[in-house]
């Protein structure tokens, strides 16, 4: 063993340390001079599989790392494999007289390195796998997106096709209904007018034909309602349904529905009860057409599937909500069917009841649009209960504070050729305490104004004999400055007389309310 002078460390301690280091680390060494002749070596040098050297051996060609070595340069080799297959690190340390070549077991490092490499390889595999899966996911997502677009397009085409076809059916059906209506009326009038000339056989002939026409009319109406359902389904699918709420008297609406449904119940000899609770406001704000459609659909279904007993309908209003319950003693619906009943085009099998399978789908969607909910419960053999609720805000009657107060009644001349409008306006103005005179054309208006004075003239524009335009011109030419309020259905009554060119004091667009008139009068009449 070579003793090394290490400052401050005794030889005894150095030796024990060296002994420890050599044994612990299984360090082997060889000391060679500058001519590459072995001067000294550790006993365990051969343990690494190296050729056995003896002192004095020339090692220049003995081991790979000795070949061409510069004994004056420090050199550390990366992990090399010994002849016995061990992994070692080799360090060449120049010292005085030569070089110490140390060999240290690196099997642990090698093993660690292998494990790292393996982990890196596995990681690389995982990353590749992940990339593959991501690519597959992206592809699947893209395929799904494409499929969705195709489905949307197919749905749109289906809806468009249904709407188009329904439209085509609607037009001729409307004609059939219109003409059969007219034929019915013509037959009735003919029978009445010709009753003196007709004998028993003739009467029977006409009655039979009336019945045929009535049948054709009813069938057409039924077909039309099926077509309307298809159209509605299309509109719902493409979000085109527009609600038109307006003030509605619930009692009147429910009574109207009862009138429509009762003949169906009478024909089947089943009982019908339709009631609405007395505790309700006089008017609520709903789309009466759509509410009527829902009631007719649901009550109609109840009647269709009830052969004994009857159908009861109850409507209640509370806190701006309308609650409706429809109970029947019909066939009932199984649990399986209850789950499917609201699907479009689905119909229960084996009932023999006709329809498109759309009524309930459409009804539920309309109720949903109206801020409500539909529920169905049923027991086979006992009957079904359908309930729905929807928003039905009450309408508060308003008091108009701008109604003028006079010591004497307001005297108004109303020039309006449409008798329907005139009747209503006269009555409404009269009931508001207005003294109203009605004329039917501009010429009569001029004559009336010449005979008596009025506080205000309400003038329609398009009238026979003399129009409102001419009447106003004449009044002004005569120096009559009574305030004139023009009433028109549009701002451009005809192309040659834009309204703004008329010498009037105010302008109201029809439909005109009494309050509109009184507000204007309050501003114009001194």
């Amino acid at each position: 063993m070579v003793s090394v002078d290490v400052e401050g460390v005794s030889e005894k301690v150095l030796n024990s340390l060296n002994h420890y280091v050599f044994n612990k680390l299984h360090l082997a060494y060889v000391f060679i001079n500058h001519e590459l002749i072995v001067q000294e070596l550790s006993n365990n040098w051969p343990d690494y599989g190296f050729e056995e050297f003896e002192v004095g051996d020339d090692v220049s060609l003995a081991v790979d790392f000795f070949v061409g070595v510069d004994t004056k340069q420090r050199l550390s080799l990366p992990i090399v494999e010994t002849p016995s297959g061990q992994a070692v690190t080799v360090t060449m340390i120049p010292i005085e007289g030569g070089m110490t070549v140390t060999v240290l077991d690196a099997s642990q490092q090698m093993s660690y390195r292998s494990r790292l490499q393996q982990a890196a390889n596995e990681n690389e595999l995982l990353v590749n796998k992940q990339r593959e899966l991501m690519a597959m996911l992206r592809q699947a997502s893209s395929d799904l997106g494409l499929k969705n677009k195709q489905l949307e397009e197919a749905n749109r085409l289906q809806t468009s096709f249904l709407s188009g076809v329904s439209h085509e059916f609607r037009t001729p059906l409307a004609s059939i209904i219109g003409y059969t209506d007219r034929v019915q009326k013509n037959l009735e009038e003919f029978v009445i007018l010709q009753s003196a000339k007709l004998d028993g056989d003739d009467f029977s002939f006409f009655v039979r034909n009336q019945e045929h026409v009535r049948s054709a009319n009813r069938s057409s109406q039924h077909l039309l309602s099926l077509v309307e359902n298809l159209l509605d389904h299309g509109k719902i699918d493409s979000n085109e349904i527009v609600l038109r709420p307006n003030p509605v008297d619930l009692k009147t609406l429910f009574e109207d529905v009862a009138v429509l449904i009762r003949p169906l119940c009478d024909a089947k000899n089943i009982h019908l009860s339709i009631k609405v609770d007395e505790k309700r406001p006089s008017s609520v704000f709903v789309d009466d057409s759509r509410l009527r459609q829902c009631l007719i659909n649901l009550i109609g279904n109840a009647v269709k599937f009830t052969d004994d007993g009857g159908v009861s309908v109850l409507g209640r209003w509370k806190d701006d909500q309308l609650y409706v319950s429809i109970d029947d003693t019909g066939l009932g619906i199984s649990e399986d069917d209850l789950a499917k009943i609201k699907l479009p085009f689905w119909q229960a099998e084996g009932t023999g009841k006709a329809g498109t399978g759309l009524g309930l789908t459409i009804t539920e969607k309309i109720i949903d649009l109206m801020g409500g909910r539909l529920t169905i419960t049923s027991t086979i053999g006992e009957g079904t209960q359908v309930k729905f609720d929807l928003l039905a805000p009450k309408i508060e009657p308003t008091e108009d504070s701008s109604i003028i107060e006079c010591n004497k009644p307001l005297k108004v001349l109303l020039a309006e050729d449409d008798l329907d409008i005139a009747d209503l306006m006269v009555m409404m103005l009269y009931e508001s305490g207005v003294d109203v005179t009605h004329v039917s054309n501009g010429s009569e208006a001029i004559d009336s104004i010449k005979e008596q004075s009025f506080d205000l003239v309400l003038m329609d524009l398009n009238m026979p004999i003399m129009s409102g335009y001419e009447a106003i011109d004449q009044l002004r030419n005569l120096g009559i400055n009574t305030p004139v309020v023009v009433m028109s259905a549009s701002t451009l009554d005809d192309r040659s007389h834009p309204v703004k060119k008329i010498d009037c004091d105010a302008y109201l667009v029809k439909p005109v309310s009494v309050n509109d008139i009184l507000k204007v009068a309050a501003q114009l009449v001194v």
Binding site: R170, A174, D418, M427, E431, N462, P511
Partner: protein, 99 residues
């Protein structure tokens, strides 16, 4: 505001829907049967009548019908035969529905 008298007037108006529908249906017939030389005059007549109808329907609160009548007016003014025919059909159907 409503009284028996006003209600009676409103009921009478509603009862006239059959006649109004007949006028609309009649116009449809004429549209179908008129020669091209007669059409311009027919369009003006239809426009004028729909104008009146829109006015009274609106006054009586039949907004949907009034809107349909106004639509017909615009088609009559534009002399759009097929659109006018369709709006007359819709008007006719609405009269049935509302009466």
């Amino acid at each position: 505001m409503s009284s028996m008298n006003i209600n009676a007037i409103k009921a009478r108006y509603k009862a006239s829907f059959g006649e109004k529908k007949a006028i609309v249906d009649d116009y449809r017939d004429k549209l179908f049967n008129s020669s091209s030389e007669d059409l311009p005059v027919l369009y003006e007549q239809i426009h004028a009548d729909l104008h009146k109808l829109a006015g009274s329907l609106g006054m009586y609160g039949y907004d949907q019908l009034a809107e349909q009548a106004r639509l017909g007016m615009s088609f009559a003014l534009a002399q759009d035969h097929s659109s006018l025919d369709e709006s007359l059909i819709n008007l006719s159907l609405l009269f049935i529905e509302k009466s």
